[in-house]
């Protein structure tokens, strides 16, 4: 019923938080919440055990939060930066956590490429980048 109105809105500008983008924001929000809660607990109760791993955990939480807000509000440049850091983070931390288990004694969202989270942390930034590309204004394409 509301389809025509919504289509007009989507065609009008390169919004990132409508349609499938809204689902993406929801998933990012869940991860911001999960990573944030995890990092807060790790930093406040056992920071000295693994400072590097827990700081990376906190970085992951911040990146998810920034990406969530940027996608929700249509901040394409911020979203692009946050999602790029996220992709690099999951690849680097994922690799390091497998190579050097001693440095990552506790799971973070990016450990082993996000295995503890059904590998969603690995897929999410790829979907995010694809969505940013697909939702561009027609004028900005090509």
């Amino acid at each position: 019923m509301a389809e025509p109105e919504q289509d007009r809105r989507r065609a009008a500008d390169g919004v990132t938080a409508d349609g499938p983008g809204r689902v993406l924001v929801a998933v990012y929000g869940v991860f911001a919440l999960a990573a944030g809660a995890r990092a807060a607990v790790q930093l406040s109760t056992r920071f000295a055990d693994a400072p590097v791993a827990y700081l990376l955990s906190a970085l992951a939480a911040v990146v998810y939060l920034v990406a969530t807000v940027a996608l929700a509000r249509g901040g394409r440049r911020t979203a692009l930066v946050a999602i790029s850091i996220e992709l690099a983070g999951v690849l680097v931390v994922g690799t390091l956590s497998l190579l050097d288990r001693a440095a990552f004694p506790d799971e973070t969202v990016w450990s082993a490429y996000g295995r503890g989270y059904l590998f969603i942390p690995l897929v999410l930034p790829v979907l995010g980048l694809l969505w940013l590309r697909r939702s561009r204004r027609p004028a900005a394409t090509g």
Binding site: G19, R22, V23, V30, A37
Partner: protein
């Protein structure tokens, strides 16, 4: 964290996720059914949360209380946030948004249950 409530929460979350995905597949917006489902899920979670907090206040010992409380605080926010975020979406994707929130609740309730079972020495 009684097993019955954990299973009950999982069932409500699964049904809400299915209802959400169904409305996306059918290219429809979400309806009252979805909002009532989210309300029911929230109610079950609040019962669960109050029970857990009462038991903790009475001296129940967990191995990792901060993490438990972190998850508990997060999980009660999910249905509300999901419903609000889905309601302002005028397209068929609103259902999938609710399904994401419901799915996250369905996973997190089992993690909460694990954390509850792990008692402190």
């Amino acid at each position: 964290m009684t097993p019955a409530l954990v299973v009950g929460t999982t069932v409500v979350a699964a049904l809400l996720a299915l209802a959400g995905l169904a409305s996306t597949v059918a290219r429809r917006r979400i309806g009252l059914l979805h909002l009532w489902g989210a309300a029911l899920l929230e109610a079950v979670l609040l019962v669960q949360a109050v029970l857990a907090l009462v038991l903790l206040a009475r001296g129940e010992r967990l191995a990792d209380t901060p993490t438990f409380l972190g998850y508990l605080g997060g999980i009660v926010l999910l249905p509300v946030a999901g419903a609000l975020w889905a309601r302002s979406e005028p397209s068929r994707w609103a259902g999938t948004v609710l399904a994401v929130a419901a799915g996250a609740v369905g996973v997190m309730i089992w993690r909460l249950s694990q954390l509850w079972e792990a008692t402190g020495g």
